[in-house]
Structure formats: structure tokens, C-alpha cells
């Protein structure tokens, strides 16, 4: 993997495409966005043509994240003069209030935005973010539940809700949220794996058995997912150690060791020896079957 650590020296074109890529996949690399902007793109923003506006929006949000109030303010002013009546710019202003911890004033703007444009879910999501920033976790849970009554196929919101339930130590509810995610996108291996993780954490043979099924499915979809491979190993080993059924024990031992072989193979491909040697300790010995 090529790991780029310095964005101050890249070409303008490379900087432009990188920003575009990050914007489209929604990754949060705020500090690097600001660096790219200041060292590369800000040299000639007008040459971007119409692309400059989404870039200003992107840089503005990144600037909030890095507490660069000055830079954010510049972006908002430029966007404001270009789009004087835009709700999108108004949202940025509300985010600016959030960044400076004027939460109540931000909420007022979001309420107003929800009213004028009830179909735009991003304003409602910001309201949840404000509650979280204020540390009001229970209120945030309530707000997301309300939100999900309207936008019930928003997996990002279900995932966030699942995390909040976990912080409240409520694994069953967290599991329910993840099940919704799997229903929404059954081919997303991350959701399946996460559901496996939750079931494994819950513990008990029945749950770990479910976890194993989720990991198996996740690997079928994405065979290179290291986390699912580890999950499969742990789940099988747990069942092999705790099941009272000799046939099940035998089957899980074999499956666990197969998962381990897969992992060792993965590490050998990247020339790593230390971790596979450690993993060998997790290898189970097949017990002779007693009749």
C-alpha cells in the first residue's frame, strides 16, 4: 500500500482528484483536506470552475473539524455571496455555531431548516450530532429512533444507534439495529461481520453459533476480510471448547483449524512470521471420539 503522508508537495491536478475522491466516498480526513487546500488548491481555486463550490463546502467542514474558524469563515463568505439564499450554506452556518459550542442557536437553525425542507434528512442528522456533542446520549437515542421512523432504510443511522446502545451496555438492542442494517444491504460484509462480533460478545453457545454463521457469510462475500477470518477462528474454537456434542466438537475443531490455516497463509503472503507463530498456539488438538 502506498501511504501518502505529505500533501504539501503534490501537483494541482493530483490534489484536485484526491479532494474529489474523498468528497465522494465521504471519508473524514479533515486535517489532510485543509493541508491540501492551503498548500496546493488555494493557489488557483477559480481554475476549478464550478467544482470550486463543492470544494469550498468540503474545506469549510474540514476546517470546523480542525478548529480553523478563520478558514471556515472565508469559505462561508465566498459561498454566501455566490448562493445568497441557499439552505446548504445556512447549514454550514449552523455547523459553525456548533463548532463554537453555540448549540442552542444551531438547533434553532436546524429546526427551521427541517421545517422548510422536511425531505432533506441531513438537517435532522445534524440535530442528533448536536445532542451527542452535548453529551446527551439518551436524548440522541430518542432522536435517532424518531428519525428512523421516517427514514427507516438509512443504515448509517442504524449503525450509529447500535453504537449508542452499546455504550449503554444494551447488546440486544444493538444487535437489533445491526440486523436492520443487514436487511437493508444483505451483501455488505461489514454489517455481517459486525453482527457476528456482537453475537460473539454476547457469549453463550447459541449466540456464538450465530456469530459463526455471520462470519461465514461475511467471508463468502469478502474473502480477504481479516476480521471475519479471526472471528471465525474464535467462534469455532469457542464451540469446540464448550459444546457437549462430540460431533459438533469435532466439526468445530476442524473448521477452527482451517480458519487458522487461512490466517497463517494470509500472513505468509506478506512475509510475517511472528504473528503466525503466535496463532499456532490457538490450534486445537482433535480429541479422539469416545463411543
Amino acid at each position: 500500500m502506498v501511504c501518502e503522508n505529505d500533501w504539501t508537495q503534490v501537483s494541482f491536478e493530483h490534489g484536485r482528484t484526491t479532494l474529489k475522491k474523498w468528497r465522494e466516498c465521504g471519508v473524514r480526513r479533515s486535517e489532510e483536506v485543509v493541508e491540501l487546500w492551503e498548500h496546493v488548491i488555494s493557489r488557483a481555486p477559480t481554475s476549478l470552475g464550478d467544482e470550486q463550490w463543492p470544494v469550498y463546502e468540503q474545506v469549510c467542514i474540514a476546517a470546523f473539524d480542525c478548529t480553523r474558524v478563520d478558514l471556515a469563515q472565508d469559505c462561508i463568505e465566498l459561498l454566501q455571496s455566490q448562493f445568497p439564499d441557499s439552505n446548504r450554506v445556512l447549514k454550514l452556518k449552523a455547523m459553525q455555531l456548533e463548532a463554537t459550542e453555540h448549540f442552542e442557536r444551531a438547533l434553532t437553525i436546524y429546526d427551521q431548516l427541517v421545517e422548510t425542507d422536511p425531505n432533506n434528512n441531513s438537517y435532522r442528522k445534524r440535530r442528533v450530532a448536536v445532542l451527542l456533542a452535548q453529551g446527551k446520549r439518551l436524548e440522541a437515542i430518542k432522536a435517532i429512533n424518531e428519525y428512523l421512523k421516517i427514514f427507516l432504510n438509512d443504515s448509517e443511522a442504524w449503525l450509529q444507534l447500535s453504537e449508542l446502545y452499546l455504550l449503554e451496555n444494551d447488546i440486544p438492542k444493538a444487535v437489533h439495529c445491526l440486523e436492520e442494517c443487514v436487511l437493508i444491504s444483505p451483501l455488505n460484509s461489514m454489517f455481517l461481520r459486525r453482527l457476528g462480533d456482537l453475537r460473539y460478545t454476547q457469549g453463550g453457545l447459541e449466540n456464538v453459533d450465530l456469530a459463526r454463521a455471520y462470519y461465514e457469510r461475511a467471508i463468502k462475500i469478502n474473502s480477504t476480510d481479516l476480521r471475519s477470518q479471526y472471528g471465525l477462528l474464535l467462534a469455532n474454537n469457542f464451540i469446540a471448547n464448550n459444546s457437549r456434542n462430540p460431533a459438533e466438537k469435532k466439526k468445530s475443531t476442524t473448521a477452527g483449524n482451517a480458519a487458522l490455516d487461512g490466517l497463517v497463509d494470509r500472513y505468509q503472503k506478506v512475509n510475517s512470521t511472528e504473528i503466525p507463530n503466535t496463532l499456532e498456539k490457538l490450534r486445537l488438538v482433535q480429541q479422539p471420539t469416545r463411543n
Binding site: M1, N5, D6, R28, S30, E31, D65, C66, L132, A133, G135, E163, L166, L167, N169, R194, G196, D197, L198, Y200, T201, L226, R227, Y230, G231, L234, R266, Y267, V270, S272, E274, I275, T278, K281, L282
Partner: protein, 197 residues
């Protein structure tokens, strides 16, 4: 009772802070490696584990198994930072992990919390607070802080953006080539920040 003394050497100290800086919007969690001598614990190394709010059993189990086989009973505790800047509460996931480590190493593990609002560059206070477990409660231990010396080195490391070189176990799970023990970062810290290991 005499308070336990906790000293974090410059390299693990910087690694912990760099882990926080790499993920400014997340909480982080990692393991502490060191020695216990009488009433004093010296943290000589740290292993960054994850940057998610709610780390679940499987990845933590694998991470501790791997680190334990490398360092054995030298795992002395857990460090963590909460995701919210003003949140100074003890993280339940960090507590659970520390208790698990205590039962594996058979000696009581410590907790180190990063105080988020002291991460500001101009803050001269110790960014870390240590806790030890006494019967059922976690109470603050005494940290031995080298002050200006450590902060100057840290400043140089931050200026060089060394946090971009740091990797945790979660990064390793995304790409098995990644070394979450951060051997190279340790070397860089030693040269850039003139920190002795």
C-alpha cells in the same frame, strides 16, 4: 495507603498522544507495556489497539493474545481517550479490558486516561492521568511527569506530523502488512524528538 507511582517514558508517552491526534474525532484504546517494581510502574512501551467507540470482544481478544505472547506479564495496563473532548469519565470498555488483563497476568492492571482538553499545544500540564484499582474502585495514582522535556519532544513530533505514521491494531486488521507495534515510529521519535526509548 501509599499511592502507586506511574512513570510513562517519552516514547510511549508520545505514541499515546500521537494515537489521539491521528483520530481527533474518535476515542482510542491501547495497551501499556512496562515493569512493576515495588510501588512504582514504569511504562516503557505502548501498543495502540483501536479507535472505535465500542470495541467488541473478538478484536480485543486477538489483540491481547498477540501482545501477551510477545510481552507476557509485561502488559501492565490499558490507556484510553474518550471521544468527546470534555468527557473525563472512565471508559467502561477500557475498564473491562484492564480487568481482563489483570486476570490474565495475575497482577492488577492500571488505567491511563488522556485528558482531551489538555491536548492543546500550549498546555503545559501532564496530559495523562493514571488510575489503580483498589478493592472495587478505581482511584487516581500518582504520575511522574517530566514536564517541559517531554512536551518539547512531542511538539517536534507533531510538527513533523508523525501521527500519520502511527498505526493501531485496527489498521493492521485492514491490512496485515501494517506493523501495529510501530517499530519505525519509535525510531523516528528517537531521532526527530531526541527522545530516548
Amino acid at each position: 495507603m501509599v499511592k502507586l507511582q506511574v512513570e510513562t517514558l517519552p516514547v510511549p508517552y508520545s505514541t499515546i498522544i500521537l494515537h489521539c491526534l491521528k483520530y481527533p474525532s474518535n476515542g482510542v484504546l491501547g495497551l501499556l507495556i512496562g515493569q512493576k517494581k515495588g510501588g512504582k510502574i514504569t511504562v516503557s512501551s505502548s501498543v495502540p489497539i483501536c479507535h472505535e467507540a465500542t470495541p467488541l470482544a473478538p478484536s480485543l481478544e486477538i489483540a491481547t493474545t498477540l501482545v501477551h505472547s510477545k510481552f507476557g506479564a509485561q502488559i501492565v495496563g490499558v490507556y484510553f481517550a474518550n471521544s468527546s473532548a470534555n468527557d473525563k469519565s472512565l471508559n467502561p470498555y477500557a475498564i473491562r479490558l484492564a480487568e481482563r488483563i489483570s486476570s490474565v497476568t495475575n497482577s492488577s492492571a492500571i488505567l491511563i486516561q488522556v485528558i482531551n482538553d489538555r491536548l492543546m499545544a500550549d498546555c503545559e500540564e501532564d496530559r495523562l492521568v493514571a488510575y489503580e484499582k483498589e478493592t472495587e474502585n478505581w482511584k487516581e495514582a500518582e504520575t511522574m511527569f517530566q514536564g517541559a522535556n517531554i512536551l518539547r519532544g512531542l511538539q517536534a513530533a507533531i510538527q513533523k506530523k508523525l501521527y500519520r505514521d502511527l498505526n493501531d491494531f485496527e489498521n493492521h486488521l485492514d491490512n496485515p502488512e501494517i506493523d501495529f507495534y510501530n517499530t519505525n515510529l519509535g525510531k523516528k521519535l528517537a531521532s526527530v524528538a531526541e527522545l530516548r526509548a
